[in-house]
Symmetry: C2
């Protein structure tokens, strides 16, 4: 866009970098910042910088925290024999929102992906091996993608002899889903994993 | 969400303030900032602050600019007898993207809205009156909303004797639209404004 001042264009570019935010939304956001007070724009900028300064990775699980050990790992009511292994810190909060998981987490920081050059040494796998005990159940909760499945199989092989059990989240029909629009791969998993009623 | 560090929650709140950005998107954006390098987060914060510092309103049209007079008002190739009156600076760029308008702009900074207590003195109407000449065509390009129409009528009455002509953008079927799904008000305008072929 000609005639848009450079500093406006730069902010549009910055917002458009977010995945899921297209140029139109980025433009609308930018003009909203422009219309807002100097104070609220400063608050937004401050929130970004402050978060980046304060947040560190938890020593134990690799999740995010403002302390060296995160609130979940510090919580004595949590069952440390139940370890949910996830790809990213954000995945933790998907579980936490359900209020139905009482174990602890371990963040891999990604998945195995030979094509992108990401091997076991690039993930928090060593710290997971050091953490598990013979009484542990490890729930491998990587995403149901090719890389997620590969990582789950790798972890299963690695930890098999070291823990009580290794499980994977159930695959099947999503709640509220529609059989007619369910893809073949999901339906195959749903048949394989059928449960008695 | 319990267990999400405060500084993360604060940034989620800030992103969720944008219209059209829900909490889910705000959360995803926040975790993307968290994953990004310190440098790119700093760039985003800098772009916000820099834009707010640098952008001023053009002395002539009320549009946005990094100088006292915007690039469009400074452009000697523009037809200053054709003034397109818009609500917000962002509207200018909608016209500029079409590459088919060679006149200049005037930004009202809103629309008349008695319910919200916004009267003529709250908008850039005086500067518009001071700007028009007897050879001007004024295209009132406020949005096709109740307030936009009211503002257009007010401006028409005010400027009628001062300019050569006052026009309003055509209302009718949007290009690519579908008759079946067109609302009644639009269809009535399309019939009223029918053109010979």
């Amino acid at each position: 866009m000609g005639f848009v001042p450079d500093s406006v264009n730069r902010l549009i570019e910055q917002f458009a970098k977010f995945s899921g935010i297209g140029r139109k939304t980025a433009r609308r956001m930018t003009f909203q910042v422009l219309k807002s007070t100097d104070e609220s724009a400063a608050q937004l900028a401050k929130a970004i910088l402050e978060m980046k300064t304060r947040i560190v990775f938890c020593d134990i699980c690799g999740g995010i925290s403002e302390h060296n050990t995160c609130d979940i790992c510090q919580d004595s009511k949590r069952n440390t024999d139940l370890i949910c292994v996830v790809e990213e810190p954000a995945d933790i909060y998907a579980f936490e929102r359900t209020n139905s998981f009482n174990g602890v987490y371990h963040v891999l920081g990604g998945v195995l992906s030979p094509l992108d050059g990401i091997g076991p040494d690039d993930l928090n796998i060593n710290s997971l091996v050091g953490r598990v005990t013979a009484t542990c159940e490890v729930i491998v909760s990587t995403n149901p993608s090719v890389e997620g499945e590969t990582t789950a199989l790798y972890l299963a092989k690695l930890l098999n002899s070291k823990v009580a059990s290794i499980t994977r989240l159930a695959r099947g029909l999503p709640v509220g889903g529609d059989l007619e629009y369910t893809d073949d791969a999901t339906l195959i998993r749903a048949i394989e994993g059928r449960t008695s009623i």
